[in-house]
Symmetry: D2
Subunit: 259 residues, 4 copies
Amino acid sequence: MTLTIDLNADIGEGFGPGPRGEDDYSLINLITSTSVACGLHSGDPTIMKRTCALAADQGVTIGAQVGYPELAGFGNRRIDYNEQELTADVLYQIAALDGIARSVGVAVAFVRPHGALCDKAAANEREAMAVVEAVVQYDKSLTVLAPCSSTLLRCAVDAGLPVAAEGYPDRGYTPAGTKIATGEPGACIAGFGPTADRAVLMATDRVVEATDGTVVPLTVQSLRVHGDTLTAVAFALCVRNALAAAGVELAPFTPGRTS
Amino acid sequence: MTLTIDLNADIGEGFGPGPRGEDDYSLINLITSTSVACGLHSGDPTIMKRTCALAADQGVTIGAQVGYPELAGFGNRRIDYNEQELTADVLYQIAALDGIARSVGVAVAFVRPHGALCDKAAANEREAMAVVEAVVQYDKSLTVLAPCSSTLLRCAVDAGLPVAAEGYPDRGYTPAGTKIATGEPGACIAGFGPTADRAVLMATDRVVEATDGTVVPLTVQSLRVHGDTLTAVAFALCVRNALAAAGVELAPFTPGRTS
Amino acid sequence: MTLTIDLNADIGEGFGPGPRGEDDYSLINLITSTSVACGLHSGDPTIMKRTCALAADQGVTIGAQVGYPELAGFGNRRIDYNEQELTADVLYQIAALDGIARSVGVAVAFVRPHGALCDKAAANEREAMAVVEAVVQYDKSLTVLAPCSSTLLRCAVDAGLPVAAEGYPDRGYTPAGTKIATGEPGACIAGFGPTADRAVLMATDRVVEATDGTVVPLTVQSLRVHGDTLTAVAFALCVRNALAAAGVELAPFTPGRTS
Amino acid sequence: MTLTIDLNADIGEGFGPGPRGEDDYSLINLITSTSVACGLHSGDPTIMKRTCALAADQGVTIGAQVGYPELAGFGNRRIDYNEQELTADVLYQIAALDGIARSVGVAVAFVRPHGALCDKAAANEREAMAVVEAVVQYDKSLTVLAPCSSTLLRCAVDAGLPVAAEGYPDRGYTPAGTKIATGEPGACIAGFGPTADRAVLMATDRVVEATDGTVVPLTVQSLRVHGDTLTAVAFALCVRNALAAAGVELAPFTPGRTS
């Protein structure tokens, strides 16, 4: 039986015109799913539409990359938020992107929190439930893409939503199978080669080597490659080639939708 | 036969917390349609959701009040805009509000440009077509609410969209039946009494007295009362009472939608 | 010897045009110091300039009301922030307001954190030091206005900055002399009368009655009355009258500056 | 006598974190003046501070790059603006940047409008005077950097402000010596070589070849190289080398300031 896995990256993370996003045209060819910023932490309607059209052309599944309304920090600052307000903000983002996606013949198929919201929803029931509630209110058939072993993943399952677990080949993991927080020692894996090796192990043996050297199980349906770095294209290509060499086929964790 | 007309006002024009919007709870009881700001010139997802819930409770028809992305000027500054970008921005706003409206059991039924976008789309084919294109891309059954005799109204009709014409009882009119621009002499009608009288004449005789004293025909399906002034409630109540005294019944120009 | 105290309120908390701020013209006559929002959580350059001109006319001392860059939540959401970035943001706000104040012949005389930043800097050394650092970098002769017994007050003193302590007559206090956090039981004092009584006790006996009924010492140089409620003017007038009846004179805690 | 000219570019045009601005560390070494975005159309306080520190290290003169408050369009959309509001916005930007510059030991020495505001102030007295008024209100010793033959240049001279004229080696010129508007035929000069040749002619012979082939006089004190393209560094280096080969020395049109 052929092993398959999804490769996801953020596309369309600019705001306003500028060089950000020049790589999108190359990166979109290398991945199977993309989560698209929805205008609150990044992304504007014109970029969103261009990205949806690119994804539609390439058959890449589209997800809503929902975040805190904070352009200045790119959604990377943790904000204390009333749950109802957070649900409203997430719902707003999903709906706005879905409307734009439908104007180019596709539709949002999954939801993925971004940055600080991803971190908070991974660890705290409060934020996890606020995100889940927004998805439930919008469309219960949307898949929630969340870190494996996260509170968000569990809450989404409990709410009856389809889910997919995400692995980070360029990030360190604790022996408990959770990602090392940004800024902590061991958070980043240096080098394309070692990162690609980890991607292959996640896809084939469903394991990751933790910071203490132990090999821990990790079942993920999607591997994340970053879209917001200057080396995003080279990195994605490297991971993709390594997966191909290991006989792993790429396929989206959930099929793209049409409007 | 009973004469009917729609009374519309903006509800939910704040951004963030604050006293703005305190009147909404009273104003919503006095009108039959409301256009709701969608987060770019005013409104945030929490206010949008509260407003949609208020409108749902009262059976008031909801429209998307779409504007330029310009909080600092409340959408009242004219911006030169690429048409495709404007269409994307308008589409984003309609979709975001519709998603939020559907989460409380209703849906967007019409689209109304706000402020400077309203003025530009009323006069110029470029902006009018950009707005119409967004509505066509989102849902061709949505009604466009536009000033009577405006370019936007004509473009929407040409595109096969349902339309409704809007009259402004508190605004001066030229002999050609168009609203005097803000800031020009005669732009504003002073006093609740004279304004209410004009509202009645628009609803019953389908005319308005122009600045030169001539009485010109004006066929409108909706009368606009402002929602963003300190006297909004008192003004709406005065117009409503005058219409009732004249035997005019209030009814939305298009029925509210449910999700 | 005559007792004196400062009465401070926020003026100019709108963003863009709208009814917010209508009360400013009355409120400015009732207070001796005002902290002015600087455009990141509220306030825009036009409102800032109008407010500075009002304050200049009335001889009211101007302070920079610095907050998190978060219009949607009015600066009331707690944000995790890198200290250097926070210092840069605070510095930006002080400088922008000071430039605008100087264009109308006055200048910023004090700095007061707003909302969530006030709460964080009151309790945490991290945020307190980031604010203090910004003041030190801009002008060491500016006074820091902070809650009494707060970490911010202590850090400002340690850095050699002039300080003033602020009391909240409409807020509950713990037996330790600290304000009850918003949303906690006992956080708000109901009624203008009881609030005015507390204001008088703070100004005369330098005490406050805590939630457990004990009377605790509280030395403050400024009493805060809110500027962002519909009853702001009535409330400020009530406190002012009560202070006058008790023989307390109003005077700014630091003199206004001219450019 | 040695010929000298200034080379200016925008540095620090990002907003929030991201790859934008990676080139700044190289570009700053190649130029003699930089105009820094002030947070309304681009730039945030952290980027502004980093850029001022870079410029201070390299002895590069700092100017305030003032623009419309419009992040989504990067200040490139023309906005109809009340003059007083525009003056307030420009003043806010100059003051904010100057405060940040002073925290790292330097100060703003000139003001340059950006994007759509540059275009409008170059052609219209209304916007030109609003910008000039802001400079006059802030500091009459600041130099205004404006396109040669522009209305802004003339208004600044009339107001007694120091001025410098700017030439665009990569832009086409009319026989009247004005820049061809963006988007018009002939607006852009293709190729680094031809552009560098034009830069040399502007610096040495003080002429430019217009679109009709005529050679017209053009007296400029500063040559602009773009900072917001992926090839900004290579382009600036090419122009710099060509000027050096022609014996032109680089020097800022106005000396950098210290706080």
